[in-house]
């Protein structure tokens, strides 16, 4: 899923402080699950805005959490509110913010989150990046551990010389060296020949940016 993090309040306040009627718009999918933009976070941000703008008597904060911000139909339902608001503060991922901006053409839409990566929760409150959406999946050769994402340098042919003692990453001693993980896993699976093979330089245009997928009828 998409993992995001809330922006610092100062940054949000600088974007939005001169508007009076603000809609704080959450999203009920990925960013709810990663504690960044669900109903609870919308409530907290709305409350923060009210406290920070207590001197502004005309300040009206409304809250809404559609199931998915990145669905035109789901945002369209909110369109009738447009006359009553001056700005939208989106707590969706980048895709959500842009979907909302595409529909609410007459008022500005601001992001309240920084969209960070595609990942999974490793434990309560701990999300880890797992996929770079590179469009050219290598996991078959690397024992299901992505070197493009989890190696600090995205190397394809093995570890750099920077591997720290105990198989930790040069960049962050807290993190495991992805290639040591890959080596151990392939060794366990008796598939080390996959790591011995030379990997050609990656096709960085596997997805032509901006990416579009046009699927045929299923």
């Amino acid at each position: 899923m998409i993992v995001a993090e809330r922006k610092p309040f100062e940054e949000i306040w600088n974007m939005i402080s001169h508007y009076n009627r603000i809609l704080v718009l959450g999203c009920g999918t990925c960013v709810t699950i990663c504690w960044a933009g669900g109903e609870k976070e919308v409530g907290i941000l709305a409350s923060q805005l009210k406290i920070a703008g207590e001197k502004n008597n005309e300040l009206i904060i409304t809250e809404s959490v559609p199931e998915r911000q990145c669905e035109i139909e789901m945002i369209q339902e909110l369109k009738d509110k447009e006359g009553n608001i001056d700005a939208i503060l989106s707590m969706g991922c980048g895709a959500g913010v842009q979907t909302v901006a595409g529909i609410f053409t007459d008022i500005p839409v601001f992001p309240a989150l920084n969209t960070t990566f595609l990942g999974m929760p490793e434990a309560e409150g701990l999300w880890v990046e797992m996929c770079s959406a590179c469009g050219d999946c290598y996991l078959a050769y690397t024992g299901g551990i992505c070197p493009v994402t989890r190696c600090g340098k995205g190397l394809l042919n093995g570890p750099c010389g920077g591997t720290r003692k105990g198989g930790k990453c040069e960049i962050d001693p807290e993190k495991d060296c992805a290639w040591v993980l890959i080596y151990r896993r392939l060794e366990k699976l008796s598939m080390l020949d996959l790591m011995e093979q030379y990997r050609e330089p990656k096709n960085y245009r596997a997805v032509k940016r901006p990416g579009i997928i046009r699927a045929t009828a299923r």
């Binding site: 610092p8 309040f9 100062e10 306040w13 009920g28 999918t29 709810t32 699950i33 504690w35 669900g38 109903e39 609870k40 976070e41 409530g43 907290i44 409350s47 923060q48 009210k50 406290i51 920070a52 207590e54 959490v65 929760p121 434990a123 309560e124």
Partner: protein
């Protein structure tokens, strides 16, 4: 649709009412404590399955524990064989325990078979490994030995003493190598010193930092040892193992009574074993204490409870326990299982409910719940055709702490709104209380189990505190949501205080720790809004600390009013 119905039926089955509780208990492993527990539970009329890892019932600690253990064990074995309520399964072990109190579904591995079996309660007894003497690198092949080894060399009569021991002129003991006091090692150590005195001619010295002789018969044993001529040396801080040029081993320590450093060279140095837990992937999800033994270090779980209702710990798996304490555990575990399964206990959890339509299945509550009371259950949304799995709270395992409610990112979990005076914990009711705050008020969220009682006590003993203090009772400060804090600040209050249980004494295990983290995060958010961190406080107060409670709130008032 048919599939949906099947699923729903399954869910009804697993959401057990007390009547549906499975009336049998799983006990593992069959150490002395396990066997005793099984017999005790059998006496109360419940069926027991006794799991044993090895091919036959045994106890790994016979050497260190009392000399009488072999006899005890044999008599227990005979009793168990005759007992019709007890079914012994071996060699088998638990892989994981799913479900909740009264209806555990236990995954068991027997030989190469893996199967699920239903149990109402589970008792984990006496499972730990012992590590012998810590390795002293520079003292290979010297006279250092463990109590276990000494016991084997000593035997039980003058004729069985090994020549190694017979040759020794001086033998010194250190009962505990680690700082903690082991009653078990003290007991066996005292016994060995007496045996040495009776059966050999050697001098026996015992180095002790603290000698605890409160277990049955220990005081007598200690006196006997002294009468027999064992010399006890009380030292402070650490002892050091030394050696001289002849290769003799010795011990150096500071004698408290002589107030002098002493050195003693001896032929054999007996150092007590270290008990180390066998941490393994056990599928219990019950946590460990700081040393890695079963059972969280939390006073509310003592003596035998775990964070999962219906799972109990007995004896050595809880740490270094002697036989007397283990016997107390055995009775407690038997009684607890009986109360649970016969419906005599007054557990009243399950006032927290999931609004299934709003659940985003993020699993936050399942990860957060300290009691493993939340699982995914099938739910058919009337608005949608398909059935999906959503979070469901099992009342028989729930303790109403509200940790899930405060954490739910979709605001899908809340206490049921009840007008009864004891159920003021729903969001709506807490927010109402917050709305009533006036500009000068100091709201204090008080844990019902600790700070709130302290506040009541303060009133009882006529301690004055400012009427500006408004007490908001919560089941646990882990229930206080960030939104509650911010809504309070919306009322322009000078500050907000959270008051909960002291560390490792949270009635709901980690509610206070989670609240502490939450306060830290909230302070960051407040800082971004220009609100100083001194305006949000958190204190940890025991239920009887009325004076401290009043002091803390007065200080808080002072801090945030200036």
């Amino acid at each position: 649709m048919k599939k949906t119905r099947e699923k729903t039926e399954l869910s009804e089955l697993t959401t057990g009412e007390k009547d549906n509780f499975v009336k049998n208990v799983l006990v593992t492993a069959s150490s002395v404590s396990g066997m005793k527990t099984a017999l005790e539970i059998s006496r109360l009329g419940l069926k027991i399955t006794l799991l044993e890892k090895e091919t036959e019932l045994q106890d790994n600690h016979a050497d260190i524990v009392d000399q009488g253990t072999v006899e005890i064990r044999n008599s227990l074995l005979q009793k168990i064989e005759k007992d019709k309520n007890i079914n012994v399964v071996s060699p088998a072990s638990i892989i994981k325990i799913e479900g909740t109190a009264g209806n555990f579904s236990v995954k068991i591995k027997k030989d190469n078979d893996v199967f699920f079996q239903k149990y109402g309660a589970v008792v984990i007894a006496g499972q730990n490994l012992t590590e012998t003497v810590p390795v002293f690198l520079n003292f290979h092949n010297t006279g250092i030995m463990s109590q276990q080894k000494l016991g084997r060399l000593l035997g039980d009569s003058p004729h069985t003493v090994s020549p190694v021991i017979r040759k020794a002129k001086t033998i010194a003991f250190v009962f505990n190598d680690s700082g903690e006091n082991s009653r078990k090692l003290t007991m066996s150590g005292l016994k060995y010193t007496c045996l040495l005195k009776k059966n050999t001619n050697c001098e026996v010295y015992v180095f002790i930092s603290h000698l605890i002789v409160d277990s049955g018969g220990m005081e007598k044993l200690y006196r006997e040892a002294r009468v027999l001529g064992v010399i006890f040396i009380k030292y402070n801080e650490n002892y050091k193992i030394i050696s001289n040029k002849n290769g003799s081993i010795g011990i150096a320590a500071k004698d408290i009574f002589l107030d002098a450093d002493i050195e003693l060279f001896c032929d054999i140095l007996v150092i007590g074993e270290k008990f180390i837990p066998c941490i393994q992937e056990d599928g219990l999800k019950t946590g460990y204490d700081t040393e890695g033994f079963y059972q969280d270090a939390n006073v509310y779980l003592y003596p035998v409870s775990s964070r999962r209702r219906g799972i109990y710990f007995v004896g050595e798996c809880r740490g270094d326990q002697d036989m007397m304490r283990t016997n107390v555990d055995v009775l407690n575990a038997a009684l607890n299982s009986y109360e649970l399964l016969s419906g005599f206990d007054i557990h009243s959890g399950g006032n927290v409910k999931v609004e299934s339509e709003k659940c985003k299945v993020c699993l936050t509550c399942i990860r957060v719940c300290p009691h493993q009371a939340i699982r995914l259950v099938p739910f058919s949304d009337p608005a949608q055709q398909e059935a999906k799995n959503v979070a469901g709270i099992f009342p028989e395992a729930c303790y109403d702490c509200g940790a899930c409610s405060a954490m739910c990112p979709a605001k899908a979990i809340d206490f049921e709104f009840k007008r009864a005076p004891l159920n003021e914990y729903s969001d709506e009711q807490i927010l109402k209380e917050i709305e009533c705050l006036k500009q000068d008020d100091l709201p204090v969220f008080c844990c019902a189990e600790s700070a709130f009682l302290a506040a009541e006590r303060a009133v009882e003993i006529n301690l004055y505190y400012s009427p500006r203090v408004k007490i908001i009772r919560v089941p646990c400060i882990g229930r206080v949501d960030l939104i509650h804090l911010f809504k309070a600040f919306e009322q322009k209050v000078p500050g907000v205080l959270l008051a909960g249980c002291p560390e490792q004494a949270c009635t709901h295990l980690e509610g206070n720790i989670r609240a502490k983290d939450r306060v830290k995060y909230a302070r960051e958010l407040l800082k971004g809004m220009g609100i100083g961190e001194e305006r949000l406080g958190i204190v940890f107060i025991g239920p009887d600390m009325a004076h401290r409670f009043v002091r803390e709130i007065s200080e808080m008032l002072e801090r945030c009013s200036t």
